[in-house]
């Protein structure tokens, strides 16, 4: 396979001389200026001291408890939303490809997934504040669903006889999420908002793999006496696994780099790496600009690892789709 690629490349090189690359120079110059140079600036900055000498001291920034906290928080948010969004997205994708959801539902969901996956940003934060923030529409509805135990005489008497202080449970609103420690402006709220663009991304990335599951495989395994559960465990899941893992990594990276939604939702009260870097740009909060570069370098390193692993998994996953 790779040999075929190599011979094809060699043939291309013979047919199209090096001189032809000159035509791509305007593009490359643009890229060098506005993508390579800035990246190099961060990279070299991460490994030089204030005087410009080579050093690894800047990496000590990762011992700073605030930085460490920000990294842990970012990794946590990314992992949780990748898992929640991935799981939910997978079930929805399965429903609209194999599960037999009605056609109109399939169309609406797949069209809207393309929109919602790019939704992020400030408006999304506003939407969640208006919907499930302290004074949001849904919150107001849930808050109204209250009951007074005093109106349920028999139950109140029963509980009182059991030693429960009934006056404590008058005017209970069991559906109000804010009484259970939920807050839109905290981790749980961030997860809720991020899921809005995470699960559609899962739908978009996993749908081709689900469509690649052949009906014949299911028929063959049931003919051989497999139960649907056994089919899933021994056939479908092993085939889908690289795609599922790859898509989850993509979701992870997607959340890890996000900035605008968190900024608009929490105003920077949740310490994420991206928020921290934003503060570092505004005014040197670390007191050492080079440590700021190290901070950014760490983020790029994690993103790069994620994307490389994703593309490796993707290559494995397409093996089943080609034939």
């Amino acid at each position: 396979m790779s040999q075929m690629f190599a011979t094809r490349q060699r043939k291309l090189w013979r047919e199209y001389p090096l001189w032809n690359w000159v035509g791509l120079f305007p593009f490359f110059i643009f890229i060098v200026f506005f993508l390579v140079l800035p990246s190099l600036r961060l990279f070299t900055g991460a490994f030089t001291d204030q005087e410009g000498g080579l050093t690894f001291d800047n990496l000590k920034v990762f011992q700073n408890p605030n930085v460490l906290k920000a990294y842990i928080m970012s990794l946590q948010v990314s992992a949780i939303t990748a898992f929640v969004g991935g799981f939910f997205g997978f079930l929805v994708a399965y429903s609209i490809t194999q599960g037999g959801a009605p056609r109109w539902m399939r169309n609406v969901i797949s069209t809207f997934s393309g929109l919602a996956a790019n939704f992020g940003g400030v408006p999304l934060a506003f939407s969640f504040i208006a919907t499930i923030g302290q004074t949001g529409i849904i919150t107001a509805m849930l808050k109204k669903a209250c009951f007074n135990l005093e109106n349920y005489g028999a139950l109140a008497q029963f509980l009182a006889s059991g030693g429960v202080n009934v006056s404590d449970i008058t005017n209970v609103c069991p559906l109000n999420p804010y009484t259970y420690g939920f807050s839109l402006y905290s981790l749980s709220g961030l997860v809720l908002a991020y899921t809005y663009f995470q699960f559609p991304l899962m739908i978009l990335t996993i749908t081709p793999a689900l469509e690649g599951l052949k009906k014949e495989w299911y028929e063959a395994s049931t003919n051989l006496g497999a139960t649907p559960a056994k089919y899933w465990r021994d056939v479908a899941l092993p085939v889908l696994m690289p795609s599922i893992l790859g898509a989850s990594l993509l979701l992870f990276g997607n959340a890890f780099g996000a900035y605008a939604t968190a900024r608009a939702l929490t105003g920077g009260s949740i310490p994420l790496v991206s928020i921290y870097i934003g503060q570092q740009i505004r005014g040197d909060v670390l007191g050492n600009p080079n440590e700021g570069y190290a901070l950014a370098f760490g983020m790029v390193a994690i993103m790069t690892l994620t994307i490389v692993a994703y593309s490796l998994l993707q290559r494995r996953a397409t093996r089943w789709m080609k034939s």
């Binding site: 291309l12 035509g23 599960g99 009605p102 400030v122 506003f126 208006a130 780099g257 740009i281 950014a296």
Partner: protein
């Protein structure tokens, strides 16, 4: 019998998760719409919208972002169409490296890119922050980079669907020079692809926050954040306005692409 049973069960399962997905999609939008209309106690009104449309800073941000978006689209098309055309015709072996480069903005988070851009161009030798005009050049460059994955892919897909080599050779044998081949033959065939890339570019620039925020330019994104800090109902109205803009541009795309699909089919059937 067993199969019929399982089919029924899966379809219930599918509808359940489908409905949950639809709720997740549309409840926040419904909530935003409802909230944005409730500025006046007890009645539904457009007061929040009126306040926004009467705010000169909104129009300043809107004008600025639209201008930036249009310039970004022009610059981006001017870079990518000739480059990708040349790649197809003369350097097909460059494809893998081009694909990697153009996907990089997905790997480098926006905040990092802006960090690097600001630190690189806020000091000599390439200082670009000394005047608002120069800063705007930096803004455009940043926007082109951020929207590069979409633009590249849109033009690339468009280019793949036409026979670049035959078209070029035909035009050249009829006496066209390079410029005319590109302007009169290739670009008209790529209209839809370029339009698609442009509309996504437009939506990206209109919603972008980080670049404008840190370079302190009066775009729509920073205006939104500032409004969100001090107001309750206006941000919801602004979110609805922003959604409408995005949907309008993507709906336009849908419209044009389905129309050209139909035209193609007509050509085939006649």
């Amino acid at each position: 019998m067993d199969e019929i049973m399982s089919k029924k069960r899966t379809s219930f399962f599918a509808i359940f998760w489908g409905i949950l997905a639809l709720l997740y999609f549309f409840l926040p939008i419904y909530g935003t719409l409802d909230f944005s209309l409730r500025m006046e106690r007890g009645i539904l009104s457009f007061k929040a919208y009126k306040i926004i449309f009467a705010d000169p800073r909104f129009w300043e941000g809107f004008r600025y972002s639209v201008t930036m978006a249009v310039i970004t689209i022009i610059v981006s098309a001017a870079i990518f169409v000739p480059t990708i055309y040349w790649m197809y015709l003369k350097v097909p072996q460059a494809r893998p490296i081009m694909e990697i480069i153009t996907i990089l903005p997905f790997v480098i988070p926006g905040i990092i890119l802006v960090f690097g851009l600001i630190r690189t161009f806020s000091r000599p030798p390439f200082q670009l922050t000394t005047s608002t005009f120069k800063t705007d050049i930096l803004m455009i460059a940043g926007y082109v980079i951020i929207s590069m994955p979409y633009m590249f892919r849109a033009v690339d897909v468009g280019m793949r669907s036409i026979d670049v080599r035959t078209l070029t050779e035909a035009a050249q044998s009829l006496g066209s020079n390079w410029f005319h081949v590109l302007a009169d033959v290739i670009i008209p065939n790529l209209r839809l692809a370029i339009l698609g890339g442009s509309l996504i570019c437009f939506a990206t620039v209109m919603g972008e926050l980080i670049l404008a925020d840190f370079l302190v330019r009066p775009a729509l994104g920073p205006y939104m954040v500032r409004l969100g800090l001090t107001k309750a109902y206006e941000p919801a109205a602004l979110a609805i306005i922003s959604y409408s803009l995005t949907w309008f541009s993507l709906g336009l795309l849908q419209f044009f692409s389905s129309r050209s699909e139909r035209q193609k089919q007509q050509v085939i059937t006649t």
